[in-house]
């Protein structure tokens, strides 16, 4: 390699390293949270006031498991096909397409102060949030969103139910 080319390659590497160091120092906490499994999205404070819009609270994998142990209801907001293929054990399917049809049964069987967790296909998928908002509209006061969704559950090696996964 000619010395000029070597210099160019070296400077290329330096730019990469410099940029990465810059980015990581600005986002240090976020990256650390991600690697230690903490919730990365800013948690929305739920302060109940008249006329306030309430949001489902984002929770991470650890919190989801904890809540499930305490008997939380878990809702799969994805399509029926995806749900049938694989879902978090004990999850109930409540999606946008069949919302009107499936909601009544849900309202009957799940009390309004139950702890509810919604999930879908992970980050970039807003359906869990959508369904969460709708449940809040229906009067559910304890709604959470598991943003990592099925992908994070699966990646952690946790068991799934469904035709595609292990029963």
């Amino acid at each position: 390699m000619s010395s000029e080319l070597r210099r160019i390659v070296l400077e290329t590497i330096i730019i990469f390293v410099l940029g990465a160091v810059l980015g990581l120092s600005f986002n240090y906490r976020m990256v650390m949270n991600a690697f230690t499994g903490k919730t990365v999205a800013p948690a929305v404070k739920v302060e109940v006031q008249e006329g306030d819009i309430l949001f489902p609270l984002p929770v991470d994998l650890g919190e989801v498991q904890e809540l499930l142990k305490q008997g939380a209801v878990i809702v799969d907001a994805r399509s029926e096909e995806l749900y049938a293929e694989a879902h978090i054990p004990k999850a109930v399917n409540l999606n946008m397409a069949y919302y009107e049809e499936t909601l009544p049964a849900f309202l009957k069987s799940v009390s309004r102060d139950a702890v509810v967790i919604t999930y879908c296909s992970g980050y970039g998928c807003d359906d869990s949030f959508e369904i969460g908002m709708r449940l809040i509209d229906e009067g559910y006061m304890n709604v959470h969103v598991f943003e990592g969704g099925l992908p994070q559950w699966r990646d952690a090696g946790l068991p799934v139910e469904g035709a595609g996964g292990q029963p």
Binding site: E11, T12, F16, L18, G19, N27, V31, A34, D155
Partner: protein, 146 residues
């Protein structure tokens, strides 16, 4: 002749540099949102999506800035070329897997594919700019020395 080459060179480098300064800034502004986009490709493990989201925009911005300032042009262009190559491979991987990178829950089929395809064409175009800028720069530098 040299004049024209210089003009084309400056246009290429300013276009490329400006594009990546802009791209870097936009992504740096919403790091978590960008992490979601990266996660959508389902290529990296959980934490690494955030690592990439944290560093990539700054690398883009830095390289783009160097191009705009006409400093360390070839290294900067190489950085963008490498990044672009990685993007292209990620897009090809998404298309090959038939992944609908826009959630896919209730999308009509084909939408996600179009997005990835368009991005692929765009990135191939960017690659041409990268190569052009690099070669024009090399040529101009050698002309000056010759």
């Amino acid at each position: 002749m040299n004049r024209w080459i210089a003009i084309v060179y400056h246009l290429c480098r300013l276009g490329l540099g400006g594009l990546f300064v802009y791209a870097g800034l936009i992504k740096a502004e919403d790091t978590v949102g960008f992490a979601r986009s990266v996660a959508n490709y389902k290529i990296l493990p959980y934490g690494w999506n955030y690592l990439v989201a944290a560093s990539l925009p700054y690398v883009e911005f830095l390289a783009g800035l160097l191009l705009v300032l006409n400093r360390k042009v070839r290294p900067a262009v190489l950085v963008l070329g490498v990044l672009n190559l990685v993007f292209i491979m990620a897009l090809v991987s998404v298309l090959v897997r038939g992944l609908d990178i826009d959630c896919g829950c209730f999308d009509t089929s084909g939408e996600g594919h179009t997005t990835a395809q368009w991005a692929l064409f765009r990135d191939i175009g960017i690659m041409f700019l990268v190569v052009a800028t690099y070669r024009l720069r090399s040529w101009l530098v050698s002309e000056k020395q010759g």
